[in-house]
Symmetry: C2
Subunit: 344 residues, 2 copies
DNA sequence: AGGTAGTCTTGGAACGATCTAAGTCACGGG
DNA sequence: CCCGTGACTTAGATCGTTCCAAGACTACCT
């Protein structure tokens, strides 16, 4: 894009020396003009800019980097295909731009695992790293953290010496339970996320909230896929009579639950209420319209970017911070009052 | 994560000069050893490698790049959150690696539109570009194509002078129609994808196949979202009697159709068969189990990478190629014989 | 007139690698 | 005894920038 610009279409890129020659000034002066430094007179400024435009000059980032030792680039490792990561990325770009940084991405996929992504990003000379949902253990994370400033999103990192930004999952789960109890539900089941990151805390929040209300926790194993929702709903249909509400480990699981229940003729939320977790795009689709717990992607991304930038632009020796964000309950169409019939 | 390595943990990175000094050889010799060039004796080779290890030496990519004018990096623009793009990325990495290239990613999101992504990637000195589903028009694409080798995935590019790799959508739609006709369906409706890339060709393939079978095409407007599937299904329920099969514009639309029909008590595929398009992860979920048309992500990615690399590593002046891949029909659980009752 | 301040401009030395061409050394043949 | 040969090694130039210290010129003040 950039309409390809004028100048030699391909092959040789114009250099600063050529621009300076055409403008009839020295290399140094041209350099000052190009990077907008104070000093040059209006006349030379104009001459250089004209020459640069004519030659289609673009500064060589490699040379600049070699000299300056600053790339002003942030690397981000993420999972393509994960809708929440997409929301985060959308917020990372403007946040980085406000701080004067560019962003390069590295995907975490089976063929290109996290450590490869990290190395690739470092090789493309990023100065700081955002890991959206890291796989690495604390030791690896710590090793990475000494090489460059790192922030982890969605998981705790301060024991590994790096900053982290994440939702306060126990509070989110508790808020979901509170809503259900307010609606009159008492038999509330949690389909958990197994060993998924965050699952343990959601489980903990659920258990604590249930007990706070004087209710018995009822946790069944699951994971963060639709499959596990389908299985859980199957068990529900097979005879877990009395249960009027389900708190799923995440939205995908919740969708599995809702679909299976509805297909079996159970009314959601008339007979059973369902709450998801994450407020993924899935949950927002109007024909799904799932009540769920939202994390604020925009704020999360912004804080993570700012944490890394803060270390980059000065305070290197801050102690690692673990920033907890309050989740927000988004009430949509899969929750309603406990039905009189099934209430125990 | 490379276990942080020995050497000064942060601050100063070791340079080749320091390695050479520690090994007691010249900078040039150290350089030869580091990049594995033939020449150095076994003794000096070992001395240099030992010194490099001790200092935790890592070559500075900026300096290397400045000198060599080759980054061996491929840039990829994609939509995070799109599952098919995730599949492609997964295949891009090994394909690039086989050709000796690294990959950097730029996201196409509302806050960071395509042209920004492209510029960012070029600034990080990628030598070639893969656009997964470009937004740019032919003029912009052509402008980009003269700056560096470009391949577009999922859309035609040869009129804009760049290579493209895409599925033969008309053939995919035709195969879907053929299957339905084989199953005895005659009133087959197509919910199209509006002005989405690819939608026109799918529509064309559908129309041609219907006429080939002596049937009347029946196209309704839609787009590539669940919403449009929901709307289309609504119209079907409102009284489009006689229709026994729906070919959706893509999987998301198909899921909207199936969900809405089932929720209204219509049996899929007993009463109505539904076919999607794309074989996204969605379609593969066992509780959705959608019959759909698949594109081969692995092959697509590989061919696109190879096209760009071929121009990079020699043949610059090949005419642009438009590579068409045959889609594959994946028969799952949403298609069945036309029901005797509803057959016209 | 001489000094000094201020504004604008400049050449040379970095940055850290690679490449080229020229060096050193030991050895064996004439 | 000299020289060519082959196997290693090295100094110096180079890539395209930015930084630094100093240079040129005008203008002002005493």
């Amino acid at each position: 894009m950039t309409s390809s610009g004028p100048g030699p279409p391909n092959g040789h890129r114009a250099t600063l020396v050529e621009v300076a020659a055409l403008a009839g000034v020295s290399r140094s002066l041209a350099s000052l003009v190009i990077r907008g430094a104070p000093g040059p007179s209006a006349a030379s400024r104009e001459a250089v800019l004209r020459a640069a435009a004519e030659l289609g000059y673009r500064p060589d980032p490699a040379a600049k980097l070699l000299r300056e030792h600053r790339s002003r680039v942030l690397g981000v490792v993420f999972d393509p295909g994960d809708p929440f990561h997409a929301d985060l990325l959308e917020a990372v770009y403007p946040a980085a731009e406000r701080c004067g940084y560019e962003v390069v991405l590295g995907a975490r996929v089976p063929t290109h695992p996290e450590h490869r992504a990290v190395e690739g990003l470092i090789r493309s000379r990023c100065e700081g790293l955002l890991l959206v949902g890291a796989e690495a253990d604390a030791v690896q994370l710590r090793g990475l953290g000494v090489r460059l400033p790192v922030a982890v999103i969605g998981r705790r990192g301060d024991e590994a010496g790096v900053d982290s930004v994440r939702a306060a999952d126990p509070r989110g789960a508790a808020a979901a339970v509170d809503l259900l109890v307010d609606l009159g539900h008492r038999r509330i089941r949690h389909v958990d996320g197994g060993r998924h990151p965050g699952a343990a805390e959601r489980r903990r929040g659920y258990r604590a909230a249930m007990r706070r209300h004087g209710l018995d926790p009822d946790v069944v194993k699951g994971d963060h896929t639709e499959e596990s929702g389908v299985r859980a709903a199957g068990r529900l249909l097979d005879g877990a009579e009395g249960i009027t509400a389900v708190l799923a480990g995440n939205d995908r699981c919740a969708v599995g639950v809702v679909d299976t229940l509805r297909r079996a003729g159970v009314d959601v939320p008339g007979d059973i209420s369902v709450i998801g977790y994450d407020d993924s795009r899935l949950a927002r689709l109007t024909h799904i319209d799932l009540t769920t717990v939202a994390q604020d992607a925009e704020q999360t991304a912004r804080l993570a970017v700012e944490a890394v930038v803060e270390r980059l632009d000065g305070d290197v020796d801050l102690p690692p911070r673990d920033i907890l964000l309050n989740p927000r309950l988004v009430i949509r169409g899969t929750t309603g009052p406990a039905s009189a019939l099934r209430r125990t």
